[in-house]
Amino acid sequence: MTIPPLTPVLTDNWDAERSWTLASYEERGGYDALDTAFAMTPDEVIAAVKDSGLRGRGGAGFPTGMKWGFIPQDNPNPKYLVVNADESEPGTCKDIPLMMASPHTLVEGVILAAYAIRANHAFIYVRGEVLHVVRRLQRAVQEAYLAGHLGANIHGSGYQLDLVVHAGAGAYICGEETALLDSLEGRRGQPRLRPPFPAVAGLYASPTVINNVESIASVPAIIRNGADWFSSLGTEKSKGFVIYSLSGHVTRPGQYEAPLGITLRELIDLAGGVREGHRLKFWTPGGSSTPLLTDEHLDMPLDYEAVGAAGSMLGTRALQIFDETVSVVRCVLRWTEFYKHESCGKCTPCREGTWWLVQTLTRIDEGKGEPGDIEKLLDLCDNILGRSFCALGDGATSPITSAIKYFRSEFEDGMTTPSRELFPHERSTAYAGQLAGKGVGA
């Protein structure tokens, strides 16, 4: 097995001494991209990002340069840039480590993006529970102000930008961009009706770009190294490098940066393989909202197109790895409980549907499933998917329909046998080996 040489970009400085400080960041050329950009017109910056082929890293993969180009520059209202740092998708763990390890990469990206869309105010909306990240970002922003990277007349360019770090209150739905805007405005976070789209009437009814942390953090490297360099990485339609978060039953879980198109097999090798003595059973390519896949898909290139063709989505590249000790029914039940808990309640299919799905799945998990339950689950998912107001409701159906597709017999077993009998939970734990030694859960 050959592992392609990896050239870290986003994660390059993560192992530097006190990598989160301005001094450390500047030592490696941090904030130099600003001068490059200020020598260009804002439209040239947008063009560079377009040419790079950068696509949004928040899940949907929308071309970032194109999004910036949608901002109507003749609109008299102020323009805003909002960074989505609400990272809450189960399994997704890339933005938070990035902001912990190198918050200045994000801040530099914010300045470049805001300059391109001609915004003088930018916001980073951070998930509320991660107070350590909030503090680190706040300090980074303070350092940037003191060093003249933020505020009036940045680097003598005449360009002014103010950046506010805003802590959310910890709701998954507030990662949905329009709910995020409502929350940022001080309202209850629920998705907005579109149109109007944020590009036209977003924050405070003004033109607004919302981008994921990783999307924005990718911009300094593009400006520094050029669009061609960026688009030389990755696959034909999925350009550049991304952070893959590997979790679950791998030897070394963590963040792995690699170009788009790497395969799961390669990533698992990088992570030291599946948990010793076990084999891959199923996995999610981009968090729980993306349909799960199996060991059939180990050699599929991880890019937008290939994963889409396999019936799933690349999403946030949250690779949750489950080995053969895991009950897919139980796992899907846990995810569904998450969606039920996080449903904002606005629309009927998601609000009521998740309530019902959890009850039916619980029964199957307890071995008390009834004939017809599987068909009912599928029909319910059909009544939720594409009928909900936002993608949260759609996402709630993904694990269920994909799990039934690949592991229907496990759901059938749930008509008679509790999952804990078929898949004793202890065997999935990190301490399973010790327990086994004591004769527990064998």
Binding site: G345, P349, E352, W356
Partner: protein
């Protein structure tokens, strides 16, 4: 607005719905375009008067062609999707996908619903129940545990919420925020526990809260007044017109076995759209008050009232009035709550039967200036006179609306809602007032700070300042609304008329009571005959005399209400005919009481026993609005006819009672029924001769402050709050509890000067009053605001006369 034919053509788009092609204006929502072809798409959150939200997802349709040849990938919410030219829409009727989507949503809506229709107020008229039948599955596949909530919570003293029935469609919260501007209810919690809630200690106190009950598509919202009282299918519905203000709101009266059980808003796009105030909705228990007068009564020689038959009462009244007429004359005080037809009967009765012009409808402070203004600028204007008036639609289309001496939220709820709608679409509202009220703020009004009494001076300068204040000079797209209390501000009504004349802005007078505008048309004024005919004009008198079959009419203008009371108190007038007047509403309650005591013969036409009853020689119970046909004339001059809800043989309208007395007097009115009165009104028509010029008012002397020493001297600003001590609001405790508390509002300067007191005592020439203080940032210096009728017998009786200056001291009265 004028539209050229070309524009009309381009503004229409063609869509095909279930195979039927239809042209609709662009931007029309698919759900409404479908209505045009007779297709009813099921819906819950959608409401034509609220901004779309797309929350319930019940209205999903299939769109195989979005107008660009491409299909939309998934079912679309038709309540949020605007039509596009060439769009093809398949609803549940023609698309299996849409039908399944709708059935799926309906099934989900019901899983957590208690299905307690048999005990739910809404059962029988419930959109959820009905649409579950028409667009849902016969049975549910849900076999799990339903979410429950403890039984109802009070959103306000009047409005209750049963949360488990709520489908969180947000109609109520959207109404509160968008329409009423009182966002005191909101979504709280999330997921299946999402619910409607209020902030702690901030109940849903809105004058319009009851509308949420009506638009709730399930039985989640109920009123204390109606909850568990009746089932919709036991009720008979009759259309009506609200009797509580001059707005003419269309209402629906739901009744059972001769008793009104509830009132709802009617649907009248030109007037109140689908909204009414809580007063219009809940204030009807006065109809069944225990002090309703049951039969005619006549005072015997023993000084006590005895029951009498109608003929006997007519005869006694006629005899007494004939004597009084000979002994100095009879004055007629009609009050402001009459129907147009009843007011007309008083007007004719005064002239023909009593031979006097001493008739006045104004049971409130008034002035000669106002009398002149009503004759010159109000009477015989608007649709009632066959002319174009200022309408609700004009308010909505105006660039600028100037409010002077008018607090629409308290005094004219329908105007308030329309102004709010207008202001959200760009109309600028200028409020000429002593402070920016919460109501004015809700219509985004700009305050033109004006102390009471200064309105005239401010209006005289407004033509020059309008552009600076409102962004555009006043012109014929703009409207000036003047309230009835301008009568007490010398020069103000004259200045308003001059402002309108100088700028082309359209002027309308907004009285507070339902009968006021009709009474002006009917000639219940000392200077006016019906149809705006000036008493002083000989040919006008000839007109009326001819219609009434009499040789001549009294020539000299009569006394106004205050003068009638003064004359009766002084013994100059021997008799009084009083139609539902509360002495405490009048300019000088003490004088009115003295008049009732002094008059040798008093005829009272009343609904309920009152102070007037105690002095009356003949008491004639008259029919409430539910027992008679009639019309109210709105502030716009729009005639709002209504029919009797109940047929109650012994319940006679004022006009029938007056006709009976007139016949006994040998001077028949020429009508006995509402229809006959209408015929006569129609035959008489509107005056088309010269309008009387409004007299130029003499400058008034500033009133003296009360002589007590200490404290500060402040000008009194006052008006009646929507919900207050008014007798038509009796009988609904929950409604009473939603009144706004009585406070004295002070500006910062006065508040500081008084040493920041929690309470102040107001000293006037008629008494003193102690009230809690509220500081209002925008209050003009030197002014204190107090509600007119929210404590005791009201300010006129207990504190001071109109236009008073008060001495205000800190703390309670000693």
């Amino acid at each position: 607005m004028t539209t050229t034919p070309e524009r009309t053509a381009t503004d229409l788009v063609t869509v095909t719905i279930d195979g039927v092609s239809v042209d609709v204006p662009k931007d029309t929502l698919v759900i409404r375009a479908a209505e045009q072809v007779g297709v009813q798409i099921p819906r819950f959150c959608d409401h034509p008067l609220l901004a779309p939200v797309g929350a319930c997802r019940q209205c999903l349709v299939d769109v195989p062609d979005a107008g660009n040849g491409r299909a939309l990938p998934k079912p679309q919410a038709s309540c949020t999707l605007p039509v596009a030219d060439g769009m093809v829409v398949n609803t549940q009727l023609t698309s299996g996908v849409a039908d399944k989507a709708q059935q799926g949503v309906m099934e989900l809506l019901l899983i957590n619903h208690p299905l307690d229709c048999p005990v739910c107020d809404k059962g029988g008229e419930c959109p959820l129940q009905n649409q579950a039948m028409s667009n849902g599955r016969g049975d549910s596949r849900f076999e799990g545990v339903k979410r429950t909530f403890p039984k109802p919570i009070h959103l306000s003293p009047q409005v209750l919420l049963d949360r488990e029935r709520c489908i969180v469609c947000q109609r109520c919260t959207r109404f509160a925020e968008e329409v009423a501007g009182d966002p005191f209810i909101s979504l709280v919690e999330r997921g299946a526990r999402q619910q409607i809630g209020i902030a702690e200690d901030a109940p849903f106190l809105s004058y319009f809260a009851g509308n949420t009950i009506q638009i709730c598509p399930v039985g989640a919202l109920t009123s204390e007044a109606y909850r568990f009282r009746s089932r919709p299918f036991d009720l008979v519905s009759s259309p009506g017109v609200a009797e509580h203000d001059a707005c003419g709101a269309a209402i629906r009266v739901d009744h059972r076995r001769g008793k009104v059980m509830r009132r709802l808003s009617g649907d009248d796009p030109e007037v109140n759209e689908e909204w009414i105030s809580d007063k219009d909705r809940f204030a009807f228990r006065y109809l069944t008050a225990t002090d309703r007068l049951p039969y005619p009564q006549v005072r015997g020689d023993d000084g006590v009232l005895h029951p009498a038959s109608w003929p006997e009462a007519f005869a006694v009244a006629a005899r007494g009035l004939a004597t009084a007429r000979a002994a100095g004359g009879v004055g007629v005080l009609t009050g402001g709550r009459l129907t147009f037809e009843d007011a007309y009967a008083y007007s004719v009765f005064a002239r023909v039967a009593l031979g006097t012009n001493d008739v006045d409808f104004r049971a409130r402070p008034h002035s000669d200036e106002e009398t002149g203004f009503l004759g010159a600028h109000v009477a015989a204007s608007g649709p009632v006179a066959g002319r174009r008036g200022v309408t609700y639609g004009d308010l909505e289309g105006a660039r600028t609306v100037v409010l002077v001496g008018l607090e629409p939220e308290d005094e004219a709820g329908t105007i308030f809602l329309r102004l709010r709608k207008a202001s959200r679409k760009g109309t600028t509202v200028l409020s000429v007032a002593p402070y920016l009220t919460r109501g004015a703020d809700k219509v985004r009004a700009l305050l033109v700070p004006t102390a009471p009494g200064e309105e005239g001076a401010v209006l005289r300068g407004l033509a020059d300042r309008a552009e600076e204040l409102a962004g555009s000079a006043l012109g014929d797209q703009d409207v000036v609304l003047v309230g009835e209390r301008l009568a007490t501000s010398p020069g103000a009504l004259t200045a308003a008329a001059e402002l309108a004349a100088a700028t082309g802005a359209r002027l309308a007078w907004v009285p507070r009571r339902a009968g006021d505008r009709g009474a002006v048309e009917a000639g219940c004024l000392p200077t006016l005959l019906p149809g705006g005919r000036p008493v002083a004009d000989a040919s006008a008198r000839v007109d009326a005399a001819a219609a009434w079959g009499v040789g001549s009419l009294p020539e000299t203008p009569g006394r106004d209400a205050a003068a009638i009371a003064a004359a009766a108190a002084a013994g100059e007038l021997a008799g009084l005919v009083v139609g539902g007047v509360d002495p405490d509403d009048t300019t000088d309650p003490a004088t009115t009481r003295a008049a009732l005591a002094a008059a040798s013969f008093v005829v009272s036409l009343e609904l309920r026993a009152s102070e007037v009853t105690e002095h009356a020689d003949v008491v004639l119970p008259i029919a409430p609005v539910t027992d008679k046909a009639g019309s109210f004339v709105t502030w716009e001059g729009r005639v709002r006819p209504f029919d009797a809800v109940f047929t109650v043989p012994g319940s006679l309208p004022d006009l029938r009672v007056l006709a009976g007395i007139a016949e006994e007097l040998g001077t028949p009115l020429g009508f006995r029924t509402v229809d006959e009165a209408r015929d006569q009104i129609e035959a008489l028509g509107t005056w088309d001769g010269e309008r009387p010029a409004a007299p130029v008012p003499a400058p008034a002397a500033p009133p003296a402050a009360h002589p007590a020493s200490g404290g500060v001297v402040l000008a009194l600003s006052t008006w009646r709050q929507l919900l207050d001590g008014g007798s038509l609001q009796d009988g609904d405790d929950a409604l009473t509890q939603t009144r706004r508390p009585a406070v004295a509002r002070l500006g910062q300067t006065a508040y500081d000067a008084l040493g920041a007191p929690a309470e102040v005592t107001l000293h006037g020439d008629r008494g003193t009053l102690t009230l809690p203080v509220e500081v209002v940032r925008t209050m003009v210096d030197g002014v204190v605001w107090v509600p007119a009728r929210s404590v005791g017998r009201g300010l006129l009786a207990d504190l001071a006369g109109p236009g008073a200056r008060l001495r205000v001291t800190a703390g309670g009265a000693l």
